[in-house]
């Protein structure tokens, strides 16, 4: 029995301080990413969730070039991209503005890396993330900032939900759609700033998309969808830590793979349920329930 226990949960998994940091930080960002992911799915803006962390990588490269902390550069760039996208999008198709913002950021990133011409380990670490390299102070910062952002989400929940599902109705009630666009992109940017150092710029969006998408197929109410996505995101990062600690496989691969499994499982469950009458996906009922 102890043998099996130690095979799955290798010694030190709950005692070494660097693993404890990983447990706390990953749990905090999983909850945050799942809640932001709820709105990403609701609004059908997976492209934004992909583009912001990916483009913000440029900020890290730029910060390295001028000798500033790379995570600070990442956050500043993520916020700039979010403001640009949130304000510009009314003028064109969403996807076009997102794509243009992303390639602009990446073009600059390519320039920064070429001009810098040094292999910067801490910049490339941000591409793939360092779950097991989080220091004690970083853990505390990630946890506190996550709690603050979750509080912000609680405050904007209702207007953002309205603006995302029934925009005309929301506008009639005095909700500014532009303000809600910017609020949404800023939430993605802030969540990305916390997620990228842990999971990596390439795969930070996995946590925002997979668990929340699975939640949509499993739940019947918006609250249910949120709870499911938080639960699935936590399960995803916890299993990733256990496997990653045992095998040293890249964390992004584990998070993406487990999110995909959760999503596929949810699709299968939804497909099996749909054969019974009266059980549609939650999307169909959300507009009705919030407008009430």
């Amino acid at each position: 029995m102890t043998g099996i226990w130690h095979t799955v949960f290798a010694p030190g998994l709950f005692t070494y301080s660097f693993v404890v940091h990983a447990w706390v930080a990953a749990s905090a960002i999983a909850v945050l990413a799942a809640l932001v992911g709820f709105f990403v799915n609701l609004r059908g803006e997976a492209f934004v969730a992909h583009a912001v962390p990916r483009g913000a990588f440029t900020g890290a490269a730029g910060a390295f070039l001028i000798g500033v902390n790379s995570i600070l550069g990442l956050s500043v760039f993520a916020i700039l991209m979010a403001l640009g996208m949130g304000l510009m999008r009314r003028r064109s198709h969403n996807g076009v503005i997102t794509a243009l913002a992303l390639v602009t950021a990446l073009g600059l990133g390519d320039l920064f890396l070429t001009v810098g011409n040094t292999y910067a380990p801490e910049v490339f670490a941000l591409l793939f993330g360092q779950l097991l390299g989080i220091s004690g102070s970083e853990m505390v910062a990630i946890a506190i900032l996550s709690v603050i952002l979750i509080g912000v989400i609680a405050v904007v929940y209702r207007p953002l939900l309205l603006a995302s599902t029934v925009p005309d109705f929301a506008a009639a009630r005095g909700v500014s759609l532009t303000a809600m666009n910017v609020t949404f992109t800023l939430l993605v940017a802030l969540a990305a700033s916390l997620t990228v150092p842990v999971v990596g710029a390439l795969l930070a969006f996995s946590l925002m998309i997979g668990p929340a998408a699975a939640g949509w197929y499993l739940a019947k109410t918006p609250w249910g969808a949120m709870l499911y996505s938080v639960g699935i995101a936590l399960g995803t990062v916890w299993v990733s830590i256990v496997i990653g600690y045992d095998s040293s496989l890249p964390i992004g691969f584990l998070v993406a793979g487990l999110s995909l499994l959760a999503y596929m499982a949810a699709r299968v469950i939804h497909w099996a349920r749909r054969r019974r009458p009266g059980e549609g996906p939650v999307m169909a009922t959300v507009a009705g329930s919030v407008a009430r």
Partner: protein
């Protein structure tokens, strides 16, 4: 167009040759790398510009970008098993396109399905790069996969790449009318007997061919830039589809040529001897063109969205 860039117009007449050298660094058209870059870049530009117009009016910008991005998974997989990168790119593109298609039965599901497939493929990419790191000590693979460069493509690939670009444009030309009809009014197209599913599938195949060859030649970043930038600018400027396609092609060609020219010139810029990346210049020219386009008010009445 090229001559209007730079501040060399005021140079005295007797220094014609020297300012020309300044604008176009010596040996530009004689260098083999530049020649194949210009040929490949032009093929990619034309193909992306034509496909891109339909990508935008069909609202598939995310899928277009994702197809380019998943090419990196194919590329790292190809490195791992030791086959030609082009098969990795095309294989990954076909897999991703088919998966997104299968997962999005309803239009509402397409965005998230694209995200999930992209995330899964990038996850695989992380695994492949990790495995490559286990078997070899080369660190350049990551950077090369992330930012391909048009100057480093092998000359042997020029012909197959140009062929792929031509094939994609021919497919789009072949389904032009039914594609337009099923994009603007799918129900109307169906009632007229247009095989909407087949037409969408053919366009998806053309899109995969266009995006993957462009991702291989120019890198994933530029493949998205050339697919979306010129087409978005052109669509803003005219409501006539044929004209938009022509305009998009012209913008994409000028953009690519300027990008390659400036990147070649930049070998003499600080930091000396290193050169600035083509992708930066192409994106910069694209953003300038798009911004100028946005500043020009639409002549025709009524909103298009």
């Amino acid at each position: 167009m090229a001559r209007r860039t730079g501040d060399n117009g005021a140079a005295p007449a007797h220094t014609t040759m020297s300012w020309l050298n300044y604008l176009v660094a010596p040996g530009f058209l004689q260098t083999g790398q530049v020649q194949s870059a210009l040929i490949l870049g032009s093929a990619v530009a034309v193909c992306s510009a034509v496909v891109g117009v339909f990508v935008i009016i069909r609202g598939q910008a995310f899928l277009g970008h994702a197809l380019g991005d998943v090419g990196s998974t194919g590329a790292s997989g190809a490195v791992l098993v030791g086959v030609q990168a082009i098969w990795g790119f095309l294989g990954a593109g076909l897999m991703a396109g088919a998966s997104v298609d299968a997962l999005s039965r309803r239009a509402r599901e397409r965005d998230v399905a694209t995200g999930v497939v992209l995330s899964a493929m990038l996850g695989l990419s992380a695994l492949f790069i990790y495995l490559i790191g286990q078997v070899s000590t080369s660190t350049g693979v990551t950077q090369e996969i992330l930012f391909g460069s048009v100057f480093t493509v092998s000359p042997a690939l020029v012909l197959p790449m140009v062929g792929l670009a031509v094939a994609a444009v021919v497919v789009v030309g072949f389904v032009y009318r039914p594609l337009l009809l099923s994009t603007v009014n799918p129900d109307g197209a169906r009632s007229r007997g247009v095989p909407v599913g087949l037409v969408s599938f053919l366009f998806l195949v053309a899109m995969i061919a266009a995006v993957e060859q462009s991702a291989l030649v120019m890198g994933a970043l530029l493949s998205t830039a050339l697919l979306i930038g010129p087409a978005a600018t052109a669509i803003h400027l005219t409501r006539r589809l044929g004209l938009a396609i022509v305009l998009s092609v012209v913008l994409a060609l000028v953009d690519t040529w300027l990008g390659i020219l400036l990147a070649y010139d930049s070998f003499n810029w600080p930091p000396a001897g290193r050169g600035w990346p083509v992708s930066f210049f192409v994106v910069a020219v694209m953003v300038v063109a798009y911004s100028i386009g946005q500043a020009i008010p639409r002549t025709s009445a009524g909103p298009r969205d």
